[in-house]
Amino acid sequence: MNARLMTAVLAAKTLRLVIRLSGGGATAAPGLAAEYIDPHALKKLGKYYDGALLVTGTNGKTTTSRLLGNILNEANINFIHNRSGSNLLRGLIGTLAENFSFTSRKKKLALLEVDEVTIPIAVQSVEPKVIVFNNLFRDQLDRYGEVDKIRKIWQKALLQLDSETTIVLNSDDHSVSHLAGSTKAKVIYYGIEDDGLSLGKLPHAADFTSCISCQSELRFDQVYLSHLGKYRCPSCGLKRPKPDVYASDVYLDQENGFKARIVTPKGTFELDVSLPGVYNIYNVLASVSAAVACGINLSVIKRALNATTPAFGRTERINVNGKKLFIALVKNPSGFNEILRLLGTNRNDKYVLIAINDLIADGRDVSWLWDVDFEDLVTDPNLKKIRVSGIRAADMALRLKYAGLAAESEIETDLETALEASIEEVPKGDTLYILPTYTPMIKLKKILARRGYSTQFWED
């Protein structure tokens, strides 16, 4: 280890310790310091680890990598993980630096969720054994520009891989499955085989609906979520690849979770997971596929998944004095649509608090709210009350008005005041559905922890 890297590692470790002792929870600072001291830290640190499992995609990075982490735990594999979700370069460096051991010679595996655009440098720096590509949707266009650009960035990053790496691809997402054509890596596909889950038609927010090979419009025999489904190109004959790992006989149990039969090349098993919604079926399938690629036993995988609970703010459920809070991060049209779909599956009275900020981590452009389909929510006969909060509360209220909300939603820009008022009006036994973008979610978490309703996320 050279001096510069050692300084960087020590700085990160020290900073982390100081932050912890002072009760703070910022996750990026140590990595940022290490990156500043040694810009090549990731590549150098990568050598001290026994390869990496990378998880990327617009939605489901945190949940999928946590699922995979649970499986690795169950399999007694030693690994490190950027569990708090800090997934930019500084977060990856921070994770590798903080977990660096000056004493132990035993190399650990690195499980890393990786921001979409950070994939190229991650692929170059750590030796990826498995890379999961979960999905690709329009998201934070103010930061990335365009969604197709990300697909091209991934395509380019995959060119340098060989068959030492397995890439795990969602067969139902054309933009993801198409990546197989640009790499020598081994490929495992996963998808859904249950026509009963089909939406019937593409939602407005669907992104990749034309054939990447020949530009013709794709035909969709099933649409499971956004542009994910069973597609084919009528003009060049391209077809959705048949998945190696898939879910069939799915039963969605409202916001409690789902049951499904999981079929893999190594065998079949029944799963009962407490993660709700169709998007979580994909997250589960992604983690199963990655675990199978690592050679982990199916019974271990099953045990780990059955015991899983949601990650912080990702369809998390909290009990407050006999009232239930259901918190689901919303950050792009496809994700928001799926949360609304989940809300639509039950006939309970609904109290809803939506919090929209426009800080950098949320995306500064709130235009995307108009690509979300709120029409079913506002006409839901069980909807009792919607309150909107956050910096862009008025934008959200306006969106709901034009979606057809009969009474105006209540605007309260201050999150804590809004939360208090919303909890207050929910009857005992009923659920308050809280749908925040990223920064209000973090803030909520702090508020709830301060009030003793939940633990701080960096402790869990």
Partner: protein
């Protein structure tokens, strides 16, 4: 509405609804739809897709949103091959056009990408657009052009996200002057363009819900084709104006 013998009707053509609607621009269609309906005006919206020809007498208003750069060539080809002449005729016959971002660029003379042939537009607006390395992203506020006295408001707010730089020719006038943000090209403080009944701009947000006076302005212009000059019933715009003011405040402080 004046003399309500028969219910007035507004017919909207939505150009490339699927490909050219990446940034919430469908909110503009929804806004026109709702605001017309709230006044008892019936509305029909028809999506105009690839390979379709357009009947130049059919639509009162054409909406053309923004898409991804990759769609730009495909749309340009289709416009030239199937729609250019009829759309030009429609504009001559009094149809109103409203286009955002990529749609705005293709209503112009051409879009010139890096190291690739120019993509021709249909030339309804005397503007040209040139690709640049500078992505102009952020909240934007403009002061509307005083040459549009009946527009009904003087500040418009939205969110811009483009790298094409648009320059106006002699026949087009800017829609407004940039107060916050980059606008057409980040150089001359102009934003958007209009020429007769044709309007284009870079404002996402989407622009119409938060700038309701401009939505009504377009509705009135579009109705004029069949009904002449009409007034629109007053509706409660409290929430719209709250969002408008909040967005302007945000634009001023967030840069």
């Amino acid at each position: 509405m004046a003399n309500g013998e028969s219910k007035p009707k507004l017919t909207i053509g939505w150009l490339y609804a699927r490909q050219m609607s990446t940034y919430g621009d469908r909110g503009n269609i929804l806004t026109i739809w709702k605001r017309a309906r709230w006044r008892g005006i019936s509305v029909s919206v028809r999506e105009i897709d690839f390979k379709e020809k357009v009947d130049p007498t059919r639509f009162d208003l054409y909406f053309f949103g923004g898409g991804q750069d990759q769609a730009q060539k495909k749309v340009s080809d289709d416009l030239i091959k199937y729609k250019k002449e009829d759309l030009k005729k429609a504009a001559r016959l009094g149809s109103v056009f409203f286009a955002i971002c990529g749609g705005y660029q293709l209503l112009g003379q051409y879009y010139r990408p890096f190291a690739q042939p120019e993509l021709p537009g249909i030339g309804l607006l005397d503007v040209v657009t040139v690709a640049s390395n500078q992505r102009m992203i952020g909240n934007i506020v403009i002061e509307t052009n005083s040459m549009l006295p009946k527009i009904g408001g003087n500040l418009m707010v939205g969110f811009e996200n483009h790298s094409g730089k648009t320059y106006l020719g002699k026949k087009a006038n800017p829609l407004g002057k940039v107060l916050v943000g980059s606008g057409n090209n980040g150089e001359d403080r102009a934003e958007g363009a209009f020429q007769g009944n044709v309007f284009g701009c870079y404002l996402h947000g989407p622009v119409l819900p938060k700038n309701p006076f401009f939505a009504d302005f377009l509705i009135r212009k579009a109705l004029a084709r069949h009904y002449g000059e009409v007034g629109l019933d007053h509706i409660d715009d409290n929430l719209e104006l709250t969002a408008h003011d909040a967005a302007i405040e945000r634009a001023k402080t967030s840069i």
